[in-house]
Symmetry: C2
């Protein structure tokens, strides 16, 4: 038997998903709650490993054996992480390997004064932006590209091509501009570096052509800065 | 000359609007920032005094003399309060006395597990609700009523009638049910006690008829509990 967890978290006060000794991680607090409820060690497999400060609205994780009741887990978990569902899954279900694609969003808050309700929940960007250029860059992302320019040079990744299924900027409420991207898998910092590079271009420090050229495996130093973690959300995982 | 401020705040870590010695209040931190920028004492008049833990998306305050630049004030303020606008107003403008009406909303988060992103931003209500009954109660609020039942017995209010311009429940996003109400002025705890009483009725502990009777000046003990502060937002002020 296997179990599937659907998890939501505010990543602000976590050192990311992956368990590490001595730091507060989402995997760490979840595995601790699971081991308390199930009375055994329960290693989790996750669909999208998120970095420090990155949020998730619907992360998916799996483990072997019986599921633990979501209510019991939530009774033990800190309130910045919540198990939305904890259910039986098909035997051998693997949240990472069986995922067909992941959807991430990146939130920009564009008003001059950052809303107190958006602290840690969006990147504050109160500067002019060439929206047509942002849209042009996003449109060029669909398809298979080499994203070497969009992940740190020191890397564990061995393959740098990714299949982008869809990418677009859209208004996500008053003063909020969101970038949405779906791909088979993502490399470390990939969405944040895509956003940082598009923001450079849309602020007059680049062009759509230059952005498109970066998608052909250019080196990291030719892309822009990595946008702050607090604007990034793992929105969903498709199977 | 007079000045008008438009202010947004997350009320979680404030002991309400009104300045009080030794506690952190929105009026306190704003008047301190104003006095630093304008180099004089600047008493503020406010459209809607909010209680401890209550939020505001567009509070309005006024003071005599030149406005201070919003940017300078925001540079001095803590990040849970932001000045959105700070502008000249007509001579003698009074944010409280010139306001024609205030709009408040109350957010309920109805999913079984509270979203980490709604902590302190909504009241968690994962119980069944008779939505038709909620709508019926809200519909009965329009017009002039005596709200004695919906404010504490110990009170500074001298007049208990209020004119409700509009009131309604509506879906405010996934798993969020919002109560919106506009009235000339509000009494202390009025929205929260209306919500608490409607939730009682919609949970089988009351009826639309009983709710309607409370609007005729019944005593406080006949109404329900005061709903938690964290779900309440001063949304806007009309002039």
């Amino acid at each position: 038997m296997s179990a599937r967890l659907l998890i939501e978290y505010d990543g602000t006060h976590f050192a990311g998903w992956a368990r590490q000794p001595g730091v507060r991680t989402i995997q760490g607090v979840l595995e601790q709650a699971l081991s308390t409820v199930l009375r055994r060690t329960v290693p989790l497999t996750v669909a999208g490993r998120t970095d420090s400060g990155v949020h998730a609205r619907a992360q998916v994780a799996s483990h072997d054996g019986e599921p633990a009741p979501a209510r019991s887990l939530n009774g033990l978990l800190p309130d910045d992480v919540r198990v939305i569902e904890s259910e039986r899954a098909a035997d051998g279900f693997d949240a990472r390997r069986h995922a067909r694609s992941r959807v991430y969003s990146y939130r920009l808050f564009t008003r001059s004064a950052l809303s107190p309700f958006e602290r840690g929940r969006a990147c504050h960007w109160p500067y002019p932006l060439d929206r047509a250029l942002l849209d042009g860059c996003a449109a060029s992302l669909a398809g298979t590209h080499d994203f070497t320019a969009f992940t740190p040079t020191q890397t564990d990744h061995v393959r740098f091509e990714r299949d982008v299924i869809a990418a677009a900027w859209r208004e996500d409420g008053e003063h909020v501009l969101g970038f949405w991207i779906e791909a088979d898998t993502f490399m470390r910092h990939m969405v944040r570096t895509l956003v940082g590079t598009m923001l450079d271009a849309a602020s007059g420090r680049g062009s759509e052509e230059a952005f498109r050229e970066l998608l052909a495996g250019r080196p990291r130093e030719e892309a822009g800065e990595t946008a702050p973690a607090c604007g990034l959300y793992l929105e969903s995982v498709r199977y």
